[in-house]
Symmetry: C2
Subunit: 146 residues, 2 copies
DNA sequence: TACGATTATTTATCGCACGATTTAAGTAGA
DNA sequence: TCTACTTAAATCGTGCGATAAATAATCGTA
């Protein structure tokens, strides 16, 4: 029982699963205030970093399919944070642009990072290192997914 | 922009989010074969480790509410993997027990850990260490969640 | 121009997750 | 003993995220 192999993998996957949930719960009250869900927040962050991306471009960064993004983006549009317009150069593409409300939201979200850092009970450098390791794991897993 | 605080926290949360997704995608084809979802798999693992737990007990280990678990457990019951029975000692509690099919499923799941380890492109000890760090982060986050 | 590839949307399906409330059962106190 | 509090699950309502598969529109090119 001590060497039961079902334990190890469970724990690395479960660690990610449960840490992600814990993160979610921590974010929830703050995101509620912004009227955003967690994945929506991630989309907004990518747009705050670079406005005017295509659906595919956002999906590439967040590893999400367009069939997931389209409805999510429509909700963001309905909420008044973004605008969806067909690209002039390539009409297959849809450009996502922040509205003024979407831009303004960034200020309201500015305090979040400090809260997360504070709640994590560790240092920035530690967190950065851990982040890098988790990303390395993600890349290995993605690479080896059929 | 280089010191934009919105980047850091995004990345630690996003790292967890995306690594969890990558894990999910890797598991998916294997779990499909077992007719399990990822959370259902986690429940099964806890039962393989200790049969006859209560709903609350499972929830405590997986950090899930009864309102999430009850329907999930009913699906597992409908699939024939578990059995739900009221406890004799305390009739408020419901005991979850593996059926013979549920026990048998463990054998079919036995190969999964090796696949995950293989796909992670790292060693067991590295993975174990990373796991511990992620769990430490989770605990800090939970502790500091209102 | 016709064909294959790309981009996004649509459709259908499903499960997870949470909050709030409810029901039932146990527990403790006046 | 009767009441009030607590606990354990289940229920209800709601909504989002995720995927697969099919469709539509556009683009690039042979």
């Amino acid at each position: 029982m001590k060497d039961d192999p079902l334990k190890l993998d469970t724990f690395i996957c479960f660690a990610l699963y449960s840490a992600n949930h814990a993160m979610n719960r921590l974010y929830k009250p703050m995101l509620d205030e912004l009227n955003l869900t967690y994945p929506q927040y991630l989309v907004m962050v990518t747009l705050w970093e670079e406005d005017g991306q295509t659906v595919g471009g956002i999906g590439e960064k967040l590893f999400l399919e367009s069939s997931t993004l389209t409805p999510l983006l429509k909700r963001l549009e309905a909420a008044g944070f973004i605008q969806r317009t067909r690209s002039k150069e390539d009409e297959r593409q849809v450009l996502i642009r922040l509205t003024s409300e979407g831009v303004a939201l960034k200020k309201k979200a500015a305090g979040i990072p400090a809260c997360i850092l504070d709640a994590s009970d560790t240092t920035v450098s530690e967190l950065t290192r851990l982040k890098a390791e988790v990303i390395r794991l993600r890349e290995a897993l993605s690479k080896n997914t059929a």
